[in-house]
Subunit: 238 residues, 2 copies
Amino acid sequence: MRYELYYWPSIQGRGEFVRLPLEEAGADYVDVARGPRGMAAMLSFMESRSEKNPPFAPPFLKAGKLVIAQTANILFFLGARLGLAPKIQPGRLWAHQLQLTIADWVAEVHDTHHPIAGSLYYEDQRPEAKRRAADFISERVPKFFDYFERILQRNSKRSEFLLGRQLSYVDLSLFQMIEGLRYAFPKTMKKMEKKYRRAIALRDRVAARPRIASYLGSPRRIPFNQEGIFRYYAELEQ
Amino acid sequence: MRYELYYWPSIQGRGEFVRLPLEEAGADYVDVARGPRGMAAMLSFMESRSEKNPPFAPPFLKAGKLVIAQTANILFFLGARLGLAPKIQPGRLWAHQLQLTIADWVAEVHDTHHPIAGSLYYEDQRPEAKRRAADFISERVPKFFDYFERILQRNSKRSEFLLGRQLSYVDLSLFQMIEGLRYAFPKTMKKMEKKYRRAIALRDRVAARPRIASYLGSPRRIPFNQEGIFRYYAELEQ
């Protein structure tokens, strides 16, 4: 089956959490909005009056007749299909629970540069962004990392992954989280990484997987930039 | 089976989205933290070193040996068990997608009074809260309502619910959203409700269901208050 991913073509954003498992699995997929007339296709789909299950926002995935939105929901579906999720229901719920926790973390990253409104420019909410980012760095980043470090520690007798014995889509998402934080908050990460050795080791193992390494070096991987969820503003780290 | 719900005992919060389907289904459940020594039980569980699948935050649900956290994940599991979700996988993913969209909306409501940090008092982020709430009211509330109104409209040949022919947990969540917004933003809702007739009619149908009506009139329903996710600050509506 050829999967169709619909997401903004110029950023990694939430779409990247879907691209990574597709790449890791060597799945046949097309990143629709990056192709010719792709943006038009995405927008007309979202505004369609006939589509039964319209998404609230990208990313969304077409898989045959199915149309699925909400990143964690897409991963719940796709993880199972691509062999990147546990085989039984309790394991799948646990993987999904961790993914939803990462989704919360992603939303908080976004709000460090847009604490007031997504509809305003960063420049129109700088003082608020500084305050929010300071709290994010001192309180939230350690809280999330402590949690995932603890999960890795608990699973360490079974594997070096977050759950079970094999790589799952949640490991790929934690990799992406770390990559994004390194881009957005390099000084902070430099200081903190020593403390979260298991998470960083997981990041390294993911980066070294042949298909992921090849993807990261390809033009399919959009570079981090100042339009995405992870953005670098030096003043937010001070 | 007796379900055990763990959530902060003095607020509706995210726990309420779990209480509602349990009540609608007449399920056997205990709201653990509201009982004697309940808070201690909840906290010790969260800090347990032996628990295999520790939650990042409440609410979480114990169902036999399973422990499930993240509100939408709990509802995905519980909806199916309580007969409040579609029977087949595509329908379940669609219900979950809508629930995750409501979860995003809930997070945005929270941030109207805490745009900078959950760890600070409202009083320490009032100017920022005013700006964020203004955008929430003018941009976000209509956007979410437009979406759900459209979903109701699309499903109107099949039923008066959001999906399929029967009540689902997502209908209960939209009911709760409207109740919360009425508490937090009464003037705004008074103006807007005319425009979202299908959503308000759904709210009324949910409120009139015998078990929900009985629950809402019981002491089990914690009143809205100034500690929860939905809070009323008159100045945020100006």
